[in-house]
Amino acid sequence: MTTREIAGKTVEVNEEGFMTDPSQWDKEIAVELAKEEGIPELTPAHWKIIEFCRQSAAKTGAAPTLRNITIGAGVSTKELFALFPKGPAKKVARISGLGKPEGCV
């Protein structure tokens, strides 16, 4: 477990760069993490997904899987890949300050 500075705040991260304490997250951190994931600007469509993931994780204690997101946030898989290219579930989890989705075993 290490700490790093994002958007002027010090947060805890694991070796894969996922934040380990969701309560340390805020929207400015999300903007910076999104840039690191190759997403220059977070649009309302991005925020809708991020907010769904934050709420889902608060309820279940784990970052949602790709299927959780498409079913729960009412977005098609194709749209989700357009918003968060390559590995959307993993990317959105990292940007949302959540752990790696547990589907990745």
């Binding site: 079913i71 989700l80 890949f81 390559k86 590995g87 993993k90 075993v105």
Partner: protein, 410 residues
């Protein structure tokens, strides 16, 4: 008379039946196990069938042979589970079973129809799976006369049963085509939704190097959207295309349909459980073993085996009115067949990723971890005997359920 009901007589269900038969007093309890199929399949053996190493006879035996005589065995499909009523409805004879305890061991199943185009055109002609006996046998016939071309191995989505099997398939294919003298005519690509060869970072990097050494092209973060049978390409959600002559797919894995029908599953029909106690999150007399649960451990027989002691102990504790103990640590242990009579062994759990080092096994080991060796290959080959003769019967094995750090280089 109380009823202990087990749904599914695969690896997990069979082990539970054997263990519970040792513990429950037959004057108080009847144990019933239900499965749709009279045959027990040694699923790890399917991998070897396409390459002619195993035949059908090596991987099938009657289920009844592995269950103790005092267990009532019913071969039937399950219509519905009604956990609020402690009741299960069977298809055969419309029989209704009322239970006191229920163990769900209904496994994970392939759903190729989840991917558009996968079963529409080339299914079992130039598109195959190897996770079913039918698929593995069909692929074996196709390989016999194949003259080479582009072979693409694609994992549709995670989680899948035995997440190392696609890698083993690739390693064995490389060896098989070498032996047949056509390796130079075969182009092998591995398209996976994962960022690398495997799920965990250190193993992923070591296994990725082995793929490169064997001249197997890795296409990471490939999330398949559809199969285009006319153009013979698979297309990802981000519009990448990979051409194939022969497509070997690892389709979407889901829990049994009866779990979905009964409203007991998550979006993939896996039953939500406490990942350390294996008790259902919703019904306290419902317990889940093996692939059927949503526990974020590998879906594999070794994991079901490591779950067994924790599950049985927790059920017995629950019968005495005690709290279950959170002892399951996600322990998995996999022999990875790497071709040319060598193998790799990995050992890991929820917290600790596969690490290099030595795996101590009293009376036989040590095995090398995360490194190719001939001993690991023979360990894998020997395992089929252990599976049929010891593991299913729930006999003592020479290692603990919980992972140990002994011998590992952290």
């Amino acid at each position: 008379m109380k009823t202990f009901l087990i749904l599914g007589a695969g690896t997990g269900g069979t082990m539970v039946a054997n263990k519970m038969a040792q513990h429950l007093d037959p004057r108080e309890w009847r144990i019933i196990i239900v499965d749709r199929d009279e045959n027990h399949y040694y699923q790890p053996g399917f991998l070897f069938i396409p390459f002619g190493i195993y035949s059908t006879a090596d991987v099938i035996k009657p289920k009844r042979n592995f269950l103790p005589p005092q267990v009532e065995v019913i071969f039937s499909d399950i219509e519905l589970i009604e956990p609020d009523e402690n009741r299960v409805r069977l298809v055969k004879g419309e029989r209704v079973i009322h239970y006191d305890y229920l163990v769900i061991a209904t496994g994970a199943h392939l759903k190729p129809e989840e991917t558009p185009g996968l079963v529409d055109g080339g299914w079992y002609k130039n598109i195959f799976d190897f996770y079913t006996l039918e698929g593995a046998s069909a692929l074996s016939r196709a390989f016999k006369f194949w003259k080479g071309g582009r072979m693409v191995v694609n994992v549709v989505e995670m989680p899948i049963k035995c997440p190392v099997a696609p890698l083993e398939f690739l390693f064995l294919a490389d060896w098989f085509f070498h032996e047949r003298g056509i390796r130079d005519k075969v182009d092998i690509t591995f398209a996976t939704p994962l960022p690398g060869a495997f799920t965990k970072p250190r193993a992923s990097s070591i296994l990725g190097n082995i793929l490169a050494e064997k001249n197997i092209h890795l296409e990471p973060e490939f999330n398949i959207m559809e199969v285009d049978n006319d153009k013979q390409v698979i297309r990802s959600y981000d519009e990448r295309e990979i051409e194939y002559d022969l497509l070997v797919t690892i389709p979407t894995n889901m829990g049994a349909d009866v779990i979905g029908r009964s409203g007991m599953g998550d979006e993939l029909q896996f039953v939500p459980v406490n990942k350390h106690t294996l008790q259902s999150n919703q019904w306290e007399n419902v317990w889940v073993i093996g692939d059927a649960s949503n526990a974020p451990a590998s879906k594999a027989g070794s994991v079901a085996h490591f779950m067994l002691d924790v599950l049985v102990e927790n059920i017995l504790r629950h019968m005495e009115g005690l709290e279950p103990q959170p002892k399951f640590d996600g322990h998995a242990n996999c022999f990875i067949e790497s071709g040319f009579e060598k193998g790799i062994l990995i050992d890991f759990n929820y917290e600790v990723e596969p690490l290099p080092g030595k795996f101590p096994l009293p009376g036989f080991g040590p095995f090398s971890l995360l490194k190719e060796s001939a001993v690991n290959h023979w360990g894998k080959m020997m395992f089929r005997w252990i599976y049929w003769n010891m593991l299913l019967k729930g006999e003592e094995m020479p290692f603990e359920s919980q992972m140990t750090m002994a011998g590992k280089w952290a």
